[in-house]
């Protein structure tokens, strides 16, 4: 096994272990913190794949924005952050079934794949992955339409959030 494979296995175990802890811990803030470490593990996997931009964006957006807001919301909503109720409901068998089916499907698809023992080839020197990504996002031949649609969607969400939070009456009573 190469050093890279060992590092990958350690990161994968760390990510999976954290993910299990997210759903099994009874303390909501702990669950959010375990979610942060899961997302961090995913970022590390991206970094191993030489996708530096995606890895850093994963940390900036998922940990820096989303997870922090999660923790914030959890802290603001409840006094006692321990959940006493049962951790599974009566649909547990459906969840197990779906996850087993997905896992079985993946195993079936990957059973003849020969890439398990391969190591990633080195990027050629001067390979500008981030430049190529940027061009692909604004090129009419590539992803400009999905990119713009996603931008408009986010803008709409932003305007919607401001509209929901803005109370015109409170604004008037100021005077």
């Amino acid at each position: 096994m190469t050093a890279q494979q060992i590092i990958f296995i350690l990161i994968a175990l760390f990510t999976l272990g954290s993910a299990v802890m997210v759903v099994t811990t009874r303390n909501l803030v702990h669950a959010a913190l375990w979610l942060v470490s899961t997302l961090f593990g995913v970022a590390a996997v991206y970094a191993l794949l030489n996708a530096n931009f995606i890895a850093v964006v994963q940390v900036v957006i998922y940990i820096g924005a989303i997870a922090i807001l999660f923790i914030f919301a959890v802290m603001l909503t409840r006094k006692d952050m321990r959940d006493a109720g049962p951790q599974i409901n009566k649909n547990w068998w459906a969840g197990v079934l779906v996850s087993l089916l997905v896992f079985g499907g993946l195993v079936y698809m990957l059973r003849e794949w020969s890439g398990f023992t391969k190591t990633a080839s080195e990027l050629p020197p001067g390979f500008d992955s981030i430049g190529l990504l940027g061009e692909a996002l604004v090129s009419p031949n590539a992803y400009v339409l999905p990119f713009e649609v996603a931008s408009v969607l986010l803008l709409a969400a932003l305007v919607g959030a401001v509209y929901v939070a803005f109370n015109p009456r409170a604004g008037n009573s100021d005077k």
Binding site: A3, N27, V56, I63, G64
Partner: protein
């Protein structure tokens, strides 16, 4: 290639040779050498950090017309070691009902979020942790971990002042990340790369000269990110006793404190890298990598000094003032400046260097001037509005 031209690579190759000579796998030797390199960098940073305590105390004393530490050793240089001994032998308290694991993890994460930044700092053209092609974004990503550590400390302490401090700090950091990220794009536009080393290599003229307003916004956002005055609401002593670190004692408090100092020094370094040419100074960086490191450290110290100057001169502002300042002034200004810079950069792409610099400076001055005029008229109408509502009789005086 001799040791004096590329010390890191020569030392790493030599060490790898030694390890493989002992019969170690080449891959394992490579990982071990990389690990030792990280260890060495962190060790050096921690030693610098010890002296930063002395620098900070000496400089604040000067700003406050005092002498500062001057009893232990020459110029009080041994004082930080006395401080460390005190911190280590102090009782290590944990509040009752505190979340122990999170409580103990927070100071470590706080220190880590600072140390991790040095992975992308180019100390010299050939000496850098990793040549990451998204170095500018990495800065923001590491800041996210710092935010997390503070909210963890605030929550796990089981103390309402600590929690309020944590909340405030998150509000500051989440808000000021936006102008910082926007302004970070300005050196990226000039250098056409997010790689820190490429940004330095492209700075034949300092970006401070091309985009003074951008450098200023970066400094303001950096000070907010550091949680230093005038944005030190998270530890507002007059309201929150000590803020998010109220329950920490001994070395755990020391970690927050030392982390903050190193963070300020680090942001001084990033300010130097992004806007003041990093390790470049009159071609001296070509002479020796060690000279380049010295130049970078001097520039980082100057940046750190400016941050201290602001901290010890300005008073703390209220949280609503801070949020209004960020969302109504700094963020729109950063967006406008980014648009103007990108536009001017495209328009002046083929212009001679002097015209390019002049055009950029003028664009910056005009943008800043318009922003200040808008802010002034807004404040004036706001003031008239308040004074007119409260005491109509005195409005004419």
């Amino acid at each position: 290639m001799s040791f004096w031209n590329d010390p890191l690579k020569v030392a790493a190759d030599w060490l790898e040779g030694v390890f493989t000579g002992w019969g170690m796998n080449a891959d394992a030797a490579h990982v071990l050498v990389a690990f030792l390199g990280v260890f060495l960098l962190i060790a050096i940073l921690m030693v610098i950090d010890i002296f930063l305590v002395w620098v900070e105390r000496k400089v604040v004393a000067r700003f406050q017309d005092r002498l500062g530490p001057n009893r232990v050793g020459p110029f009080g240089l041994i004082q930080p070691f006395a401080d460390i001994i005190k911190l280590i032998i102090k009782e290590d308290t944990t509040p009752g009902n505190a979340d122990k694991v999170v409580y103990n993890l927070a100071p470590i994460l706080s220190m880590m979020s600072v140390l991790i930044l040095w992975a992308v700092v180019p100390l010299a053209p050939v000496m850098l942790g990793t040549d990451l092609n998204v170095g500018a974004l990495f800065l923001i990503a590491a800041g996210a971990i710092g935010t997390l550590s503070i909210i963890m400390a605030g929550w796990a302490s089981n103390n309402k002042f600590a929690l309020i401090g944590g909340f405030r700090q998150v509000a500051v950091m989440v808000s000021f990340e936006i102008p910082m990220l926007t302004v970070l794009m300005i050196p990226v536009i000039f250098a056409e790369s997010m790689n820190m080393n490429a940004i330095i290599a492209a700075q034949s003229t300092w970006y401070f000269l091309i985009s003074p307003l951008g450098a200023l916004i970066f400094l303001v956002a950096a000070i907010a990110e550091l949680g230093r005055a005038p944005f030190d609401l998270a530890e507002g002593e007059s309201e929150l006793v000590s803020g998010f670190n109220i329950e920490y004692s001994g070395m755990k408090f020391g970690m927050f404190y030392a982390g903050e100092l190193l963070h300020a020094f680090t942001f001084g370094g990033f300010w130097a890298i992004l806007f003041f040419g990093g390790y470049r100074f009159l071609g001296l960086e070509q002479v020796s990598p060690f000279l380049a490191i010295l130049i970078l450290i001097i520039k980082a110290m100057l940046g750190y000094w400016v941050i201290m100057w602001v901290k010890y001169t300005m008073m703390r502002i209220r949280i609503d003032q801070m949020l209004a300042f960020n969302w109504k002034f700094l963020t729109p200004l950063a967006f406008a400046l980014l648009l103007v810079t990108a536009l001017m950069n495209a328009l002046l792409a083929s212009a001679p260097a002097w015209l390019y610099t002049l055009g950029m400076i003028l664009a910056n001055i005009v943008t800043g001037w318009i922003a200040i005029e808008i802010a002034r008229s807004a404040t004036r109408s706001e003031r008239e509005h308040i004074e007119g509502g409260k005491k109509p009789a005195e409005a004419h005086h």
